[in-house]
């Protein structure tokens, strides 16, 4: 597999009156062509900042990329000038934002908004661009494209607007698509349609996708690989099966346990106690230690390195150290994993 993107030791900080907020504290990951990587984590874990840094969309100041490399096809995006970035943004890397209500310009016709990128990046003439817009709108499943492109965003429903946003993102056939909670604001049925659409288009265009979400159901649906972020760091990364069926980090256990499954009985949900740490003064040692019931002495003193579980699966927790005691995941999570192992082998047409 060919590597499209490599992020190495990325640090992003924001200078505020209160001091330096270390939003991203050493993130490493890579992405192959045609692959979907999901980044999950709570709000404030740095998942949006990481992807915004890739596109240099972080307002500087107060933000700054403190150190690290973002290699996109071998070129370091972190060192590019604004002018150079403009050629990449929207053309080679494009983004789908969370809120379709605010990411479109309410005073511009939808067709013109899609055409902008085509005219700017692809140097198309207006009639050419118009033709392409119709194609794009049809691709994302908007019927009667000829007329719809002359309408304003307020004439579209939420789901339809998100389709327009997807069309804008796809206009220049990007190699990398970053989707920041693209379906969080939508209803389940519309969400299902948009997800199917994105997967379908990815198959057709062979683009890679970074998918940010906190909905683990969506992750299971779209992702090839999953990175779990906590307090500005990736704490566990692996294939989707690694993360869901064999999670190793207590934080991942917590995330999985806090979602009720549709066949769960009346047991209490496994909630992660407390709330994420303040990144103004990140705690010494493992940032998750304060909320971790399995925390050991070393967690309070030293940050755990990435331990290798398998070739595809890594996790940053001292529990994987050879001297650590053998600890089972909490009962609720274990039950979930066992339950899944059962259903995964079961019949396909099984009804809920």
């Amino acid at each position: 597999m060919e590597k499209l993107l490599e992020v190495k030791d990325l640090h992003v900080s924001f200078d505020t009156y209160g001091g330096e907020v270390k939003a991203v504290r050493g993130v490493n990951f890579d992405l192959n062509k045609g692959e979907t990587l999901a980044i999950v984590g709570e709000s404030g874990s740095g998942k949006s900042v990481t992807t915004k840094a890739l596109m240099q969309l972080i307002p500087m100041p107060p933000g700054r990329i403190k150190q690290g490399e973002i290699l996109f096809e071998g070129r370091d995006l972190a060192k590019m000038s604004d002018k150079q970035m403009q050629k990449i943004r929207g053309k080679e890397i494009s983004m789908i934002f969370q809120d379709p209500m605010t990411s479109l310009n309410p005073t511009m016709k939808v067709g013109n908004q899609i055409m902008e990128g085509l005219i700017k990046h692809q140097k198309m003439s207006k009639p050419q661009a118009r033709k392409r817009v119709v194609e794009l709108l049809e691709l994302v499943g908007i019927a009667d494209a000829e007329n719809r492109m002359k309408q304003y965003p307020h004439q579209f429903s939420g789901g339809m607007r998100q389709r327009v946003v997807v069309a804008i993102a796809l206009a220049c056939n990007p190699k990398l698509l970053i989707a920041d909670e693209p379906t969080t604001a939508l209803d389940v049925t519309i969400q299902a349609q948009i997800l199917e659409l994105m997967k379908d288009i990815q198959k057709k265009t062979d683009s890679a996708t970074i998918f940010i979400t906190h909905d683990l159901g969506v992750v299971a649906n779209v992702a090839d690989r999953v990175a779990v972020m906590y307090a500005g760091k990736i704490v566990e990364v692996g294939t989707v099966d690694d993360i869901f069926y064999n999670p190793k980090h207590p934080y991942t256990w917590g995330l999985l346990g806090s979602m009720p499954s549709l066949d769960s009985e009346d047991e209490e949900l496994y909630a992660i106690p407390g709330s994420p740490p303040d990144l103004l003064n990140p705690p010494k040692g493992d940032a998750f230690a304060a909320r971790n019931e399995y925390a050991m002495k070393i967690d309070l003193e030293q940050e755990p390195p990435m331990f290798k579980v398998s070739d595809t699966h890594y996790a940053a927790t001292w529990l994987l150290h050879e001297n650590a005691p053998d600890i089972d995941p909490p009962a609720a999570v274990k039950k979930r994993m066992e339950g899944m192992a059962k259903t995964s082998g079961g019949s396909e047409g099984e009804q809920r």
Binding site: Q191, G254, P260, L262, M340, R352
Partner: protein
């Protein structure tokens, strides 16, 4: 569980005028009961009228038609100040957005105690303070928080303040309108566990409105599915998820992604086509299986009974 009815909703209608000749029928002829001590879940897509239902029940809107009976008494209609006060003490609401539902210029203590002040529930300022501290502890905050302002709290903590405020007047019925959808997953679990704990301890009755179906299934005893202002299906939570009958419910359930990659790879989604229904007569709410009601015509009723059987 005792099957005593706490709230009865009878042919409730809420129509909004949006122009001289156009009317939005947000809620259109709703009938259901909520039993004492249960959690009734109301699900549906945005715009189906589930929030309007909740708001009409608590009389934030005046109903266009129909009745809401609370302990046998109508909530709507002309009422004296005292009568209204009595209802307001019994019924409380938790709102969706913990950022918009707390007054940013009031201290937490005053936010929580506002209802107590109105109803004259605390003898003096010491008793008031004590009660606020007690409530803060009930919802998992501590008493130092009483003197702070809402902006000093995270979303999950704010939602706890909202819950404490609802509990302050000792209500027996709480309407929770999407109380967790603005929160992070791990925090959602904390709040849901808290709501369940409070129900066990105080025997509360909930109307739980949400679009997150897996969470609704988890917290509810019975669930009603709404579509375009009407209830299309009502059943026990387990029953509804195991044997969805109405095609809309089936499509809704088939659209939920579950945190299980293998299941996701094989999941098939049904789409709902409203035109598939029999239109020969006005559909009615009928009991297809015991305790399991579906909106259908006579013809569909027979078909559903054939397909889904009558027993368990």
């Amino acid at each position: 569980m005792s099957k005593e009815k706490l709230v009865e909703i009878k042919n409730l209608k809420q129509h909004f005028k949006t122009g001289r000749h156009s009317v939005v029928k947000a809620v259109d002829g709703l009938n259901f009961d909520i039993y004492k001590g249960e959690t009734f879940g109301l699900v549906g897509e945005s715009g189906c009228g589930k929030s309007t239902t909740g708001r009409t029940i608590i009389r934030l809107y005046d109903a266009t038609d129909g009745e809401v009976l609370y302990n046998g008494e109508n909530v709507h209609g002309k009422k004296s100040r005292d009568q209204l006060k009595k209802f307001n003490r019994e019924m409380q609401m938790i709102f969706q957005d913990p950022y918009a539902s707390l007054n940013p210029r009031m201290k937490v203590e005053d936010i929580i105690a506002e209802g107590m002040d109105i109803h004259g529930l605390s003898k003096d300022s010491n008793a008031r303070k004590e009660r606020v501290h007690e409530l803060l502890e009930t919802v998992g905050l501590n008493k130092e928080h009483a003197n702070r302002y809402p902006h000093e709290f995270s979303g999950g903590q704010r939602q706890r303040i909202g819950i404490a405020r609802a509990l302050a007047v000792d209500p027996s019925f709480i309407i929770a309108d999407e109380p967790i959808s603005a929160l992070d997953v791990s925090i959602q679990a904390q709040v849901v566990n808290l709501l369940k704990k409070l129900q066990n301890e105080n025997g509360l009755t909930y109307l739980f409105i949400a679009h997150d179906l897996s969470m609704v299934k988890y917290i509810s005893d019975r669930i009603g599915v709404m579509y375009f202002g009407k209830m299309v299906e009502l059943a026990d939570a387990e029953e509804l998820y195991k044997h969805p009958i109405h095609p809309y419910t089936q499509s809704l359930l088939s659209a939920i992604p579950l945190p299980d990659p293998d299941y996701e790879r094989s999941r098939e989604r049904f789409t709902y086509d409203p035109s598939q229904h029999d239109t020969s007569e006005e559909p009615e709410f009928r009991e297809v299986r015991p305790g399991h009601f579906v909106l259908c015509t006579t013809k569909e009723f027979e078909q559903y009974q054939r397909e889904h059987g009558t027993g368990r």
